[in-house]
């Protein structure tokens, strides 16, 4: 076994080999990614937006679940690193379930792939792929089921650091559909590792996983109480299909109790910032005046997303 048995993301030297989750990654690696990303922010603002770090490398975007935003930012990031990018949108329903996952990967690996960016609807799918690819291939999880979305988690950490510098005195609230959110899980692990002393999750009981407190968070069902004196508000997207089930009564009621409005945000610290991983449902989980307001850092998030993905890819390629 060439990978570290206790953590399949790390190689024998304890360096990052795959990025599958932020859970269990040493703080040093998170800081390294954040620092590296900082150096790439400059690149993305130059006139010639390319560096040759991944020249000659083939990066495969392997999306078993549709995504525009994440796939595009990965593609831009890889291209700015001078890699060749191949996009594959795999319609999973047309195939005999996941059986094809490993077959697909084996075929692509035979085409001299160097890196797989994987999105899949099932939690843990990137682990399966990482376990089966050749040792020189790197796998990046671009979102798996409800489990993890590590690059989103990292770009949000980058954003927080950009505006708040230090994590060690922050009070952060994660608001909304934590149950179905891979982003929220990545937030919680990253914040914990980076030394954030107080993480709150806010939502109705139907949208918080049972035993979520075992992840080291404080649970609030009253949003006003949960937002009191927080430094960072991390909103989560509420998918429309949740309204069709018994999880919630209506979008209106959700908005009234868990939508981020100016008056609720006023309970947070005066210099609080608001993040959202996008795409937003205005008028459901967030009010337009907040989304476009002075405290919103939603657009910088998108810009930093490219730098973070460049950082992750360049670090993996270097290890």
């Amino acid at each position: 076994m060439w990978l570290n048995a206790s953590n399949p993301q790390l190689n024998k030297n304890g360096e990052l080999h795959h990025l599958l989750t932020l859970e269990g990654l040493p703080a040093g690696i998170l800081w390294q990614i954040l620092d590296t990303a900082k150096s790439f922010v400059g690149v993305t603002q130059r006139e010639v937006k390319k560096v040759p770090l991944l020249r000659g490398k083939a990066v495969f975007n392997l999306f078993f679940e549709p995504s525009t935003r994440t796939r595009t930012t990965f593609e831009i990031a890889a291209k700015r690193l001078s890699a060749d990018v191949i996009n594959l949108a795999i319609n999973i329903s047309s195939q005999t379930k996941g059986e094809s996952v490993l077959d697909t990967v084996a075929n692509l690996a035979a085409m001299q792939a160097d890196m797989f960016i994987v999105r899949h609807a099932a939690s843990g799918a990137p682990y399966l792929i990482a376990k089966h690819v050749a040792p020189e291939i790197h796998v990046i999880n671009a979102g798996d089921g409800r489990h993890a979305h590590p690059t989103q988690g990292l770009l949000d950490m980058f954003t927080i650091r950009h505006f708040k510098q230090d994590f060690s005195s922050l009070r952060v609230a994660v608001v909304g559909d934590v149950l179905h959110s891979r982003v929220a899980r990545s937030h919680i692990h990253a914040l914990t590792t980076l030394g954030c002393p107080e993480i709150r999750v806010i939502g109705p009981k139907t949208l918080l996983p049972r035993h979520v407190e075992t992840l080291g968070v404080h649970v609030y069902h009253d949003m006003r109480a949960g937002l009191k004196d927080v430094d960072v508000v991390m909103m989560l997207r509420l998918q429309n299909e949740r309204m069709q089930s018994a999880l919630l009564a209506s979008a209106q009621e959700f908005y009234k109790y868990y939508g981020l409005t100016e008056d609720k945000l006023a309970l947070a610290k005066p210099d609080a910032i608001v993040l959202h991983p996008g795409p937003m449902n205005r008028g459901v989980e967030i009010d337009s005046s907040v989304a476009d307001g002075a405290k919103s850092v939603i657009l910088p998030q998108v810009t930093f997303g490219i730098a973070i993905r460049m950082a992750v890819m360049s670090i993996l390629a270097g290890n």
């Binding site: 399949p8 859970e23 379930k97 996941g98 059986e99 996952v101 490993l102 899949h120 099932a122 939690s123 843990g124 799918a125 682990y127 399966l128 089966h132 798996d144 089921g145 409800r146 489990h147 993890a148 891979r182 899980r185 996983p209 049972r210 035993h211 979520v212 075992t214 992840l215």
Partner: protein
Amino acid sequence: MKIHIKGGRLIDPKNGIDRVQDVYIAAGKIAAVGEPPKGWSANRTLHATDQIVCPGLVDLSARLREPGFEYMATLESEMDAAIAGGVTSLACPPDTDPPLDEPGLVEMLRFRAKTLNRARVYPIGALTVGLQGERLTEMAELRDSGCVAFSQADAPLADNHVLYLAMQYAATFGLPVWLRPQDPALAAKGVAHEGQVAARLGLPPIPVFAETAALAVILLLARETGARIHLCRISSAEGLNMLRRARHEGVAATCDVAIHHVHLSEMDIGYFDANCRVMPPFRSERDREALRRGLAEGLVDAVCSDHSPVDEDAKQLPFSEAEEGTTGLELLLPLTLKWAAECDVPLSKAIGRITTDPARVMEIDAGHLSPGAAADVCIFDPNRYWKVEPAALKSQGKNTPYVGYEVAGRVTCTIIEGQVVYESGTAKR
């Protein structure tokens, strides 16, 4: 064929025997224990010094995958696995394709099994036609063709009314109904125990109350109908508490657990190990402890392999898409010995849980070595360690969380009806 089993430590829990004693087999039956019958001369002597001689194991649940799922396993491969594991009698659940819902299928399966001359197969009939959960099967007819009990396996019933009627109908004929309590709606889409691991890994959860809610209904209806109920694969501490209370109130339900649940918990899922995808799910450490204690106390009547061979492709999938089940026939004995050693359970009691106790649940005359009984015997070396490797398993299913582990207890000889069918590594045809 007259066989003399010489010098072994005989453990026959039903007869309260645990001492070095010889066993004499003639004409397919136990001829004598201790002193040889008059004028005895053996055709064959099996030397069992430093080994344990016990009744052949009785397994309450082993999926043989025939008919319908031969790509996963065949009767041949799984019957070989059974005798390699010392199992001489086994009950097979009705969830084949087609399900065991009509006498012709049951007779066919029994005939196929008999011609293989391996373990005795006791089919469990489907409770409803096609396991669809709606119309009752011809249970009395199925009993006449050889079904020992009736079950839905893991398939849901349409509603509690069907459950009530099925119990009423079974009770009419005095037929046992075996049920694995799980509310299908509360468990819908779930793949892992609702606990810290599922919360962390983002796996859709199956709460304990999916088991206990269904169990409450079953126990209530058992009392109302007087049906003979056996509860399969209880997985939670709270489930066992409910059973304990029901027994105090006079409900005569029996209960089993799967051997893997005695050892593993949600933590063993690790990084999405699909070999830990089982039904019911591995639950918390606390639940696991309760199962271990319940089995020692006798609250849990028996432990079974819940053998479910799955083909490799069906496990090489993301956790939630992987097929459920673990292979178990060859691990039932070593894992039971492991439990006994870890929980200070006397060997005789532990062996009882895989011989005479399950035979009592199945209401078959097996699992003991009384003179005159069918000579179904397992001889094993309790101190022989072996590594669980795919190549070391006879079962076509190589899916087990124990791959790579070393376990103690290796069967050296299996005898069915006085015939040596398995001996140190090979099946005798």
